[in-house]
């Protein structure tokens, strides 16, 4: 079929350590990249701004969470709090007059520091208990944020983001915002794609599978857990900062609440733990589909002449969002990334039986 090869067979180590082991995957990636690059010229600015941009930034953030949850296997229910740290630090730095390039890095580093605190919980407990601890930490962070006017920006608890400027250029246009988001997402994606080829990536996987077995093999699980949390928090911080700088323009605590933490985790799990394309798909599904369904319901009811309660309409996206999580987990617990892999593997040897690895 589209793949022109029957199964993945490597004849040498170079081909085995390629990022894209299937040429069609590489072609797909190149196509998506080119489409992303050309999107401002192809899509109306409404789509660009309200769909593409958040999708890219949330994907970057989800990839960061995937690093710690998918690769290192540490459950994290306080990711939004870490994003908030980055966002607030970067914006305060920028308001203080620090150039945005450095402000973003400051945001990332601040997140790393706070995010590493979460790692100390991970050193003590795993699984469910880690999830609960990080959840509690999220509540603590939320509380600190809402109760310190110095951070959250006075009595309105909102903080205006100064105009984004990178490399001496003020960025104010939709296209400009889009490219910033695109560049950041690309950077994170390249990092994550390469991660699995590095010793770091393998160490993280070893820690995920069995941390004390990894320790016996000489992998310092203590060090790698902290490293995973720090790296993922850095991504979270910058993503949070960019989200405010290019999308919300106004930072408010509820943008980084518990519900958001759960949402990012949902994106990662629905997408597939440890899957990069999965994170893209997961974010698209969780972020865009509920709104889409709502639009369809609203449009459908109107054309059928039915009156749907405004309140009902307002809560349908939430119900759909929950239902999506449940449905995807029922169809394929390993997420959309695995689903994509299954379809690819099926087509790769079509019309014969399934691919044997």
């Amino acid at each position: 079929m589209f793949y022109r090869l029957s199964g993945v067979h490597h004849a040498n180590y170079v081909s085995d350590s390629r990022i894209f082991k299937v040429p069609a995957d590489r072609n797909l990636a190149i196509f998506v990249f080119l489409f992303g690059l050309a999107a401002p010229f192809l899509l109306p600015s409404l789509y660009l701004n309200s769909y593409m941009l958040p999708w890219l930034i949330w994907t970057a953030a989800a990839l960061g969470l995937n690093l710690v949850t998918g690769w290192a296997g540490q459950l994290h229910l306080g990711y939004a709090a870490v994003m908030a740290v980055g966002a607030y630090s970067a914006i305060h730095a920028a308001r203080f007059g620090v150039p945005w390039e450095f402000a973003l890095i400051i945001g990332g580093l601040a997140s790393s520091v706070i995010g590493s605190l979460f790692a100390f919980a991970a050193l003590r407990v795993k699984g469910l208990y880690l999830a609960l601890t990080t959840l509690a930490m999220q509540f603590v962070m939320d509380w600190v944020l809402t109760h310190s006017p110095a951070i959250s920006g006075g009595s309105h608890a909102s903080l205006q983001s100064p105009t984004l400027a990178l490399l001496g250029q003020d960025i104010t246009s939709d296209t400009g915002y889009y490219y910033v988001a695109f560049g950041w997402c690309l950077l994170v994606t390249i990092f994550m794609l390469n991660l699995k080829r590095t010793g770091l990536g393998r160490a993280l996987v070893a820690v995920r599978e069995k941390d004390f077995a990894a320790a016996i093999l000489g992998v310092n699980s203590f060090y790698y857990k902290i490293l995973a949390f720090a790296a993922s928090s850095f991504i979270a911080g910058v993503s949070g900062a960019l989200l405010v700088a290019t999308f919300f323009f106004l930072a408010a605590p509820e943008q980084f609440s518990v519900a958001v933490s759960i949402q990012v985790l949902a994106m990662v799990i629905v997408g597939g733990l440890g899957s990069i394309i999965g994170s893209y798909l997961g974010v698209a599904l969780i972020l865009l589909v509920p709104g889409l369904v709502n639009g369809i319901v609203a449009g459908g009811s109107q054309s059928l002449g039915m009156q749907i309660n405004v309140e009902t309409l307002a809560h349908i996206p939430n119900a759909v969002y929950g239902a999506l999580i449940v449905i995807i987990l029922l169809i394929e617990p390993l997420g959309l990334g695995k689903l994509y892999g299954n379809i690819r593997d099926y087509l790769m040897v079509w019309p014969f039986d399934q691919l044997r690895k």
Binding site: R124, L135, A136, A323, I325
Partner: protein, 295 residues
Amino acid sequence: MDWIFLSELAINGALTGLLYSLFAIGLVLIYKASSVPNLAQGGLTMVGAYVVLALSHDAGLPLWLAIPLAAVIMFGLGFGIERVALRRLAGRPVVMILMMTLGLDIFLRGTTLAIWGGTSRSMELGVSYEPFFLGDIFVSRIHLVGAGVAISLFVAFMLFFRSRTGIKLRAIADDYMASWSVGISVERGVGLSWALASVVAVAAGVIWGEIQGVDQALSLLLLKGLTVAVLGGLDSILGAVVAGIILGIIENVGADFLDPLVGGGSRELIVAAVLILTVMIRPHGLFGRHDIERV
């Protein structure tokens, strides 16, 4: 410090804490019977309260009929949840099960609000708001009623877990495979635990709905319920009750000290701190089981 004031804080805290226990019992039931962390209890509580309201206010049934009827409906819903959502995930890693219950929670909340709207409604149980004095100490009647319900549920479930069915449920939590091997229907057992937790959710929904109104804030009890469940030990009903009382007292007394210092709203902070400290210091809680490791 005024001792009467302090004991009033403590007693009212303990009563509120027992209401947290009422919520936490739902979590513990499911954990005890299937080792599944149930983060959907908030959503279930909301659904429970709304179903009671729909039966009593919208359909006009008297409350004494509406509440048992709602319990029956929720019992069925609990079984349904196990059948549809959890059966296929049995044996999967905890991440997925956790996400599944979170997804269920979001779905239940969203659906409830889509059907009944988001405006807060009152339960109108008919419990008098007249102050009730215990010696010199003022307590709220509805809290007393709720505490009574929590304690009777506690006694009922303590007895239940000694019964043959209860022992089977505990066996399931221990080892799915061994349970299958001796003919225990794991699916039915887990379903039963969800059904019972849903019935508990009706009780919690009614009491909390009376106290703070029936709206989506009911699902925010999750953090407190989780804290109580973890502090007591996730699989201990007795733990849920004792930890509820402890957390209620710490929260009420602590907030009284802390609020003036930080400008109010310190309850959430205290609860989160208790949760973090419990997990860090004693993850299996006060009465939870240690995992037995023999070499």
